[in-house]
Symmetry: D2
Subunit: 373 residues, 4 copies
Amino acid sequence: MGTKRLGIGLVGSGFMGRSHAFAFNAVGQVFDPPLRPALAMLADRDTEIAAAAAGALGFERAVGDWRQLVDDPSVDLVAIAAPNRFHKPIALAAFEAGKHVYCEKPLATSLADARAMVEAAERFGRIGLVGFNYLKNPIITLAREVVAAGEIGALVAFRGIHAEDYMMDPDAPHSFRTEPEGGGVLMDLGSHIVSLARHLVGPIEEVSAMAATVHESRPADGMRRPVPVEDHGHLVARFKNGALGALSANWLAPGRTMQLEFELTGTRGTIAFNQERFNELQVYAAGDLPGRGGFKTIVAGPDTPPYGNFCPAPGHQLGFNDLKTIEVAHLLAAIAGDVAPSPDFSEAYEIQRTIAAALRSATERTWVTVADC
Amino acid sequence: MGTKRLGIGLVGSGFMGRSHAFAFNAVGQVFDPPLRPALAMLADRDTEIAAAAAGALGFERAVGDWRQLVDDPSVDLVAIAAPNRFHKPIALAAFEAGKHVYCEKPLATSLADARAMVEAAERFGRIGLVGFNYLKNPIITLAREVVAAGEIGALVAFRGIHAEDYMMDPDAPHSFRTEPEGGGVLMDLGSHIVSLARHLVGPIEEVSAMAATVHESRPADGMRRPVPVEDHGHLVARFKNGALGALSANWLAPGRTMQLEFELTGTRGTIAFNQERFNELQVYAAGDLPGRGGFKTIVAGPDTPPYGNFCPAPGHQLGFNDLKTIEVAHLLAAIAGDVAPSPDFSEAYEIQRTIAAALRSATERTWVTVADC
Amino acid sequence: MGTKRLGIGLVGSGFMGRSHAFAFNAVGQVFDPPLRPALAMLADRDTEIAAAAAGALGFERAVGDWRQLVDDPSVDLVAIAAPNRFHKPIALAAFEAGKHVYCEKPLATSLADARAMVEAAERFGRIGLVGFNYLKNPIITLAREVVAAGEIGALVAFRGIHAEDYMMDPDAPHSFRTEPEGGGVLMDLGSHIVSLARHLVGPIEEVSAMAATVHESRPADGMRRPVPVEDHGHLVARFKNGALGALSANWLAPGRTMQLEFELTGTRGTIAFNQERFNELQVYAAGDLPGRGGFKTIVAGPDTPPYGNFCPAPGHQLGFNDLKTIEVAHLLAAIAGDVAPSPDFSEAYEIQRTIAAALRSATERTWVTVADC
Amino acid sequence: MGTKRLGIGLVGSGFMGRSHAFAFNAVGQVFDPPLRPALAMLADRDTEIAAAAAGALGFERAVGDWRQLVDDPSVDLVAIAAPNRFHKPIALAAFEAGKHVYCEKPLATSLADARAMVEAAERFGRIGLVGFNYLKNPIITLAREVVAAGEIGALVAFRGIHAEDYMMDPDAPHSFRTEPEGGGVLMDLGSHIVSLARHLVGPIEEVSAMAATVHESRPADGMRRPVPVEDHGHLVARFKNGALGALSANWLAPGRTMQLEFELTGTRGTIAFNQERFNELQVYAAGDLPGRGGFKTIVAGPDTPPYGNFCPAPGHQLGFNDLKTIEVAHLLAAIAGDVAPSPDFSEAYEIQRTIAAALRSATERTWVTVADC
């Protein structure tokens, strides 16, 4: 591990905030990062909550106001795990203060805000990385290599879904997920499957989408209020390279806990993946002898880096938090100037723009060119 | 088995023709049908081919002209397993001659022709059944019962695909499948997934589709000629009951041999199925105790009729040809007046109309209401 | 199909008797057998039952006494699907009458009886084939070819089980399965996994086994009577070629309907199979590039003969009754002198001897050499 | 996290040593342990290696001699991840020095040594925990609860295997694994499946085993030397409660990377598990309505504690290193007196004794009572 300290300021200590803390804590043991992350400061919505979380997660200091954190000289990187509507103001302030930013997806609650964040990252010349948790999975990196090596030929179709069931209960209350700005399942889960589609196939040029709100009201403030966002959405898409896609997002899919699933069809092979078994990749490549062809189950191991940093033996399996540790290792390398950050704010913006196009399509009942959004 | 003879006249002795013959031969042993099918006559494109097939399959007589078969008094039912462009003339002649018709899908090569066939069936009051091979699977019948009993709640989304790889080779030649009228993968395979969608969810009101031709030319008559139909297509759909769908069809999907796969999401449960393992149904129903919920793999057996007619022990598995035998048992019951035929010509017409709407959408780059086709 | 008639006399019309009838009826259409089977006569325990079954299954005549069937000049082959204790007398009488015999497993209720049957087959020079339903599966034939071609190297270990749950209920009554002679799960199900082990690996020289009776009494004649046979048994085995085995049989395994499952380990590869998905074979063969190795799922199709006789398209799947049709096609070829029958009575005897050795081991609490039984 | 410091002294920095370090580093964030582990000292076979590892893993000090570590006052717990032959001397010295011990499996290279270690733990009244990595998996804890609640009835049979392929290459060299004392696959991998069998079913009374050495020599010191231990072994077993078992271990199983797999049969249900997909448990419980029964795939989540400490959302999956973190959390609780350590040295001794009985059985070709070893 490098000896140069990188002060981490974490905003938010919920699900993703804890995961950030785990990753910053683990990265120095698992990898040999060029910088030494120090858990400098944690901010949450009030001082008490922040102090408790800082104690549990090992941060040196705690504050009830993220602005203090952004301005604190001990903080070099601002990690944003706060509700979506805070992403923009925190990121902009952080960049302005000369800090790097590690932001959870989605980038912002509107495309205009996301655009402003991309511009800020560029203007201030700081690193901006967006936490699309699933892209750094070694088995996804393998999938990219299989594609790049031409092992499945030219790309034909990408069929994918991200479905879970956390909003299945009609009495699940309103939250940031159901806010008219920045909410909805296409933003929340759809952005993951779009990020994978772009990661593996490339930019999407055109979409046509349908979406529906199944549970039309949910509890809030002691009464039921209308839900202004969709519960599930489905789109067909045309990629720039001519491939076609069919993508779905659903947050009330009973029994689905992590169905981030796709199959990628090429002219000479097929790749299939499901995050529910994310240490495996199904690959079919034409060319076997008769009676010997079939889908192969490839299991993550030292041959699919950086798995070996976690475990020298194959098949032992990485967990969700390990994926975040890989993401953080990449972030540190990017800040040290060793690699370009990916997905950066610009990529996150393009993902969000694709979602925006789908939402417009669903509303206007027409095909929409992504570049027009 | 009933003693009343039903003379079977089979047109075509290829893949599906043989399957018909197997089914008519087996049905009397496996079931106790109200009519006794007799393999009366087989027609194929010339007398020699027909005679050879009739000998192999056990038909009493053979002819080189289907018109003779239709008019023959020994024939009571005309089974059409000929190329798609012959469906209409044979069916119309058969109805006119007072015969029942068992026709392979798709019904016709144009929507107008299909309409004419529906009208002929009605006018002459004969039974018309269309061979959508996969609908009579006991495990699909179970799926319908699970839906009907409300076990998965209200229907939310149907996501499906039918993909195989028989056209994956760019040198696979032109055939009836690539004819501008009635060809294309949406008609060939897409009709199966649409038939399942309608069978389980109901009518589709509106679609938006994208389609593409990957191999732009194929061999024919010693040269390469352009391919006028799509190799894969994808659509989003709105069902009459408000559910949404995402459907795909692909005949150059490497490694896929029988991926007729869907997941049906309800408000309280999920059903998943893949024809590659068609004796199994995955069912999730909410309501288990914490830590005890999960997708259940239900295996076909005597509790999923008519499996027990084939085998008294569960888990032994039906094969593809057994599905056709169930279809034929249903056909005989329909001719005897015991049940209404399903899918009848009218249902096959609606399936075809949905495909036509998708094709128009893909061409006109717009959403299309099925009723407008 | 050959024109020479082969008169079939079937004894027993239960589960396996019907399956025999289905197969004899189908074989002429699916294959091009050298003989033409004619459903000549069916015998069952009384005339009435026999007549009803003969009508349903299409046999020309029915009798209430199998001796009449054996002696009838219209019968050339006696198919034995009667309870185990009848196998020996029927087979011996049939051979003596110059008939061929197709007998369901297990061969007999004692090793001495089985030996007598082998000798009778040899003495009278007739064909004797034993119905081990699962050996003729095209995917098992593929497994043998993979082994024979050296694709998994030298054989190291065979680990298998046959488990179902039909005796799970402690109130399931006594039957031929629980008779002290010839009963027990090792004979009933264990013989299947032993037959597969011998089919793929070769003879077993030595065994050590443990067995237990879980439900110590079952209903019979209005009272509960002790169960004299085991409900489950487990053995380790040494094959002649040095490979080792671990085999289990269990007929009260909840939720298992057809778990005839094995994994065969070689020095350079592995084969895994489960009859619950019997159209698939899992094969791992060493030698792939780093990061590209994995178990391959091979799906039955025209490249795994004789699948193509049933269906020209891969992946459509054979069913249980189709396996029996393949067995019958093999039987007809053997009777016509085209192939050696397999598994013949001698092979069935060796399987039974292996089971007998296991049972002795379990009783005497010691290792047992199969040749000593 | 408690404020009381617990000084960790780690001996060995290979595969398991790093895993220990990861776990001690993570446990304070993920759990709220009663003690605060401090990475005090790391020992390895020379000072240089130890220093490099200490730097990478975050230990305060490094030594080339484990005796120094054991005696160092900053060390309260000695974690032993050194080759098997060092387990006994280190553990004995540590207990004598008043330290707690956390030892990787197997406990020792002989049963007598293991016995001595158990006695030392008792004599000095220190905590001894043995690292059987897979027992603390939340889904295994669920399996135990399902058993304890009677959901699968009385236990009937346990069928298991642990197979990997790391010794598949005949040129894989000699190592501690192939030493005559304490080596062999039954000790290395077999101990894991025995530990699971005891964890879920209870003590094993009697075994009969076969074992074989496939690759009879391996490289060492520039030449090929004979291999004195088995490459695979298989045993049948009788548990104290009357259940039977069939267990296998194989370290040259091609394509297997983490096949720690079992099925546990009860009178009313079945549990199946494979470590290759260790966040899932297959459970069948009798009692569903006809046509609704089947194996259920239960996925780890907050309802299977302590999964929720790692992630509040189900289905996101734990990784191998997370299992070690759970083990360490348990260790800290045991040291603090909150729980009894499990598996303690006594349990590890019983596991080893079962393996010793199997090895004796394989050599003496007879059944062996475990209590006689």
